[in-house]
């Protein structure tokens, strides 16, 4: 029986990139007979994200208040749980994660049975590699994660990730709000879920702005480190 895959697209002011992303995504053929549904989670955008998404026949989860990326992704994950999806894949709305790379995550999951599969920019140094300072931060989180979970995840800040049924159940129950990527890995691996990484080729963002900029990046490092530490010592 072919499974169902929900593509969760957290969006904040992405009316510029959705018209290219959605048609490409909906035309993507997934491996192993998986059926695809796209869910645009509108995190209280100030532009026409909702109208654009509806026009392209995507499911729209329209948040009445801004929850931040984690809260938006969790909304999509909850939709996946409530509607019996087998897999959920987070794909950012800014065009950084090309739909043609989806099959790599799905194939890897089907072959190895990993609960979380992360699309990584760095396993093979191809495509958009981010700036030097950002890579420094990503390297830092690689080591913090390694220290806390023993996992060697190189791109722990990557938002291009697949959740299987078990991970969907967990993330629907609790998922960090702000900058959830590195922190959630600590939670998942502590719960005994299998986290794996697979190389993908990312693009540079097509529109919109990163949620992490200038002064915010110091706060980001500090907040995420703290959150990871507390997730690490929290009893599950």
């Amino acid at each position: 029986m072919p499974g169902k895959v929900l593509i969760v697209i957290p969006c904040y002011n992405e009316e510029a990139s959705l018209p290219t992303l959605l048609p490409e995504l909906l035309a993507t053929k997934l491996p192993n007979g998986y059926q695809l549904e796209a869910a645009v989670v509108n995190d209280c955008s100030k532009d026409n994200t909702v109208a654009v998404a509806r026009k392209h026949k995507a499911t729209v989860l329209d948040l009445p208040v801004n929850l931040g990326i984690g809260g938006a992704v969790q909304t999509g994950i909850r939709y996946a749980r409530d509607n019996g999806f087998d897999l959920a894949i987070q794909l950012d709305g800014d065009g950084q994660h090309p739909p043609r790379e989806l099959h790599k995550l799905i194939n890897y999951h089907d072959e190895t049975g990993a609960n979380i599969v992360i699309g990584s920019r760095f396993l093979e140094k191809e495509g958009f590699q981010s700036s030097f300072v950002r890579r420094l931060g990503i390297n830092y989180f690689h080591w913090v994660n390694r220290l806390m979970t023993g996992l060697a995840i190189y791109d722990s800040t990557s938002g291009f990730r697949l959740f299987d049924r078990k991970a969907i159940e967990m993330a629907a129950a609790s998922y960090p709000d702000e900058y959830p990527e590195p922190e959630s890995l600590v939670v998942f691996s502590k719960a005994g879920l299998k986290v794996a990484e697979v190389p993908v080729i990312m693009a540079e963002r097509q529109g919109g702005q990163s949620s992490i900029r200038s002064f915010g990046s110091l706060y980001y490092c500090f907040k995420v480190s703290l959150a990871m530490f507390f997730s690490f010592i929290r009893k599950t």
């Binding site: 989670v41 509108n42 499911t59 729209v60 989860l61 329209d62 948040l63 009445p64 208040v65 929850l67 809260g71 969790q74 909304t75 909850r78 939709y79 409530d82 709000d177």
Partner: protein, 118 residues
């Protein structure tokens, strides 16, 4: 009775009245009023019992009585602020759940509408 005693007692009474008014009007929940009521009781106690502060000062070994008051109150305020942060965190979580629920319901509702149309 000293003039300062009369002033503090008057301020206290006004404060209690204001808190009561807020509760009656439904603008302040009782659980958050407890701490304010306790504060006024303390203030009232020490405005009536003037030797009390001197006694506490000697027991704790603080040199200047005013420092004891400041330390005590600053600590109490810090604890209360922490409590408010806990309340804010809880509200944040509840708010998140509600927002997510609303967006999921909206989607269901829209699907229903479309099904009925077709």
């Amino acid at each position: 009775m000293l003039r300062i005693q009369i002033i503090t007692i008057a301020v206290n009474v006004l404060f209690v009245l204001y808190i009561s008014r807020l509760i009656v009007k439904g603008k302040l929940r009782e659980e958050y009023a407890i701490v304010w009521v306790i504060c006024t009781i303390f203030l009232l106690l020490f405005s009536l019992w003037t030797d009390g502060l001197e006694l506490l000062r000697r027991i704790t070994g603080v040199v200047v009585a005013a420092n004891l008051v400041f330390t005590g109150f600053i600590f109490a305020i810090l604890v209360y602020l922490l409590h408010l942060s806990v309340v804010a965190s809880k509200l944040h979580n509840d708010n998140k759940k509600l927002a997510q629920e609303i967006s999921l319901l909206k989607e269901q509702f829209n699907k229903h509408l479309e099904e009925q149309k077709s």
